[in-house]
Symmetry: C2
Subunit: 431 residues, 2 copies
């Protein structure tokens, strides 16, 4: 169970997502989640989302359902083509004129020139803003956003391209704050936890939440585990500090980051600071650990590479596993994981090597080693550790959880934490 | 530009997604997209989506905005906990009683017994259905779905867990059809195209679309390229056949599948049928090709494994690249890609080996080899082919496109198509 508890926010936010592609099976609306996360530290509550077609009447009907006093985010339909009708729809709904903004036009002309685009601004809709609205700069694209008061609502309009929307959210929230519509951000704290289920986070933090009921608590599942957030009103900064100190002590080495960086980046930063190198030997993950590592710009500074030893013969030939070990213990076992790690460490000339071998499913399970059973080992110059996990997802989820557990094992080793912690890591049952 | 063109559908569909987690930044609503895709071949149009909290009043308000004659999908809030209020909300809105369904209760008891769960059905809300509704079986979970006519709308209720919803969609659509609410599925055809941009598909198919304007055309970007769909009303089956024949000739070997299977599965099926084996050598993709291959159940039947040769030293030591080749041509070059493929093929004892080396970005580009430049090579027993691509995305997108191009190169080799086709493949510019 993910959850939210604590003090109730005051300002109501509504989101209108505009775009035929969101209603024709082409793409899901992820922009609303981006907006919600950006608002995370502000005392607001998102009431609902309406997803509508690029049609004047449909956008107007969605805006009609909002209330004076609401903050309304509208995303999509801000480009320069005929399909993009959001500007017109909002102006018509609010019964205000679209005004040509010379400042926006000049910025647009400069941006076209910078990109070497030969294009006249005549007929370009992008410098047209509903009267009374303030433009918001678009650092990645051309269509500016806008923020303004219309029919008693504070309306913020953003483009539908997720990267552009994401890049414009800080400027948009700043404009809303300047206009006095958005409550000041609450002081917040973040704890990012790998290898923990939401239920485990809820359970573990319950005593602290009981003591600090007036703080705003939230936790949810993200790509690399669970994010726990704690927020406080301006008059509760001391309480926040006290609760944060308790959580720091409680969560301790379960925390891989206290800011919005991902687990592979945390591992990379630890490796680069120490000047150490890493190699991997992957069986059930088939390359996912290497893919996660190399997804980070700069990973070539510490990552040497690896072996995907999918076939047993390859575990012997390319990762240095003794055929007798394979025969005696099977591919999914502590000795094979350890030999994979040691073999690849030697062959790749790396300081550390990580090995993963498991049964991802759906087939291949036995009563002794059910689907989800996974051994992960880490070899260093003077240490060799291994842990067994029992994941309970489908093939894809088991592989993702194994990737997460493997990266977290490296992190734990580098910060001097115990490698496996049966009492607290809940995504598997280490032996 | 993705697109839809052709004949207009008749029945209006609305979607109501219920769940606090969709409004608190925890998760995006992807269920609506699943429903839209399942409806793809039916003559219906999705009008809008409302995302609301797990609150009786909010669900009722969203239902109030639908119209008699609509098909209304409601997803989420069907479980057995106190948060799950969708059943109650719908019954209250429609002013009908919640009736205890003994058939549902018995199925539930059997399911609990099968899973070894000791649990009384007393107080369990799951067998409670609004009067007049028909249950829909949930093959993955316990909460059944339901379909029925309420206040003139045809309402279908599904759970919020995406896998459960996906598994229940066929049964739900079948129930809607039995009840006469959902138009019979139009005959449709599907062409799945790797390595093509939406704009290229639009351009290439334009002459055929012009000739068959009364058919329903749609195409959109998916994980492994672009899906092109063609649908026809029951009286236009001949036209559909004629257009499909033209498209088959036009698209030819660009098509990797004509049914909903993914590119890695297509490669796997070709490999297994031929009894051939594959190994990979990955540089910029860092394991993504292996991860995509091993994401398929059954891949151990043909995939031997691979080397992630991220550091240049590893390309020499573990993939058999000649240091002189590296020095003369650089890591991102045809000779290095070819030697990687040949080296790994020999070392892994595979029939085929695939190699990928490129500059994913953001750094590392030069005027000669800008970011996105990628060489892919395929070595077989008596053939060695290679192609250069120039992808224009960010790091993650360039890596994904390289993975797609690599898998498609294997497919093309196995079906005897030219490996690179500069005139038609648009996600890169092969040399």
């Amino acid at each position: 169970m993910a959850g939210v508890s604590g003090s109730a926010p005051a300002v109501t936010v509504r989101i209108v997502a505009v775009g035929d592609e969101l209603l024709e099976g082409r793409t899901s609306d992820t922009n609303s989640t981006r907006i919600q996360r950006a608002l995370g530290s502000h005392a607001v509550a998102v009431r609902d989302i309406a997803v509508v077609h690029d049609r004047l009447g449909d956008v107007a009907a969605a805006l009609d359902r909002t209330r004076p006093g609401d903050i309304v985010f509208v995303c999509g339909g801000l480009g320069s083509t005929g399909d993009d009708i959001t500007r017109e729809a909002i102006a018509a709904w609010a019964d205000v004129a679209l005004e040509w903004r010379q400042d926006v036009a000049e910025r647009l002309a400069a941006e076209y020139a910078r990109r070497g685009i030969v294009r006249s601004l005549e007929g370009d809709k992008q410098p047209l803003l509903p009267a009374g609205c303030e433009p918001v700069d678009n650092p990645l694209g051309t269509a500016p956003g806008l923020v303004g008061e219309l029919r008693g609502r504070r309306v913020a309009v953003l483009p539908g391209v997720p990267q552009e929307l994401e890049a414009m959210l800080p400027g948009t929230l700043a404009a809303l704050q300047r206009q006095g519509a958005l409550p000041t951000a609450r002081p917040t704290r973040l704890w990012r936890l790998a290898q923990m289920a939401e239920l485990a986070v809820a359970h573990l933090t319950e005593p602290v939440r009981e003591r600090y009921r007036d703080l705003h608590w939230s936790w949810w599942l993200v790509d690399w585990g669970v994010d726990l957030r704690l927020g406080a009103g301006p008059d509760r900064a001391d309480e926040l500090e006290a609760a944060a100190a308790e959580l720091d002590a409680l969560l301790d080495d379960l925390v891989y980051a206290r800011e919005m960086i991902d687990l592979p980046r945390v591992v990379q930063d630890h490796m680069l600071v120490r000047g150490t190198t890493l190699a991997v030997a992957e069986s059930c993950t088939g390359g996912m650990v290497g893919a996660a590592i190399t997804g980070q710009d700069g990973s070539s500074g510490y990552f040497r590479g690896g072996v995907v030893s999918y076939a047993d013969r390859i575990k012997v030939d390319r990762a240095g596993v003794d055929p007798a070990t394979l025969a005696a213990h099977g591919a999914v076992s502590r000795p094979v994981a350890e030999e994979m790690a040691q073999g690849v460490r030697a062959r790749f000339g790396a300081d550390y090597a990580l090995a993963v071998t498991g049964i991802a499913g759906p087939g291949g399970g036995t009563p002794d080693k059910p689907v989800g059973t996974t051994w992960i080992a880490l070899a260093g110059s003077d240490a060799l550790v291994a842990g067994r996990y029992r994941f309970s997802g489908d093939r894809e989820r088991n592989r993702r959880l194994a990737t997460m557990a493997a990266l977290d094992m490296v992190r734990r080793a580098l910060v001097g934490a115990p490698i496996v912690d049966a009492d607290r890591l809940t995504w598997g049952v280490p032996e």
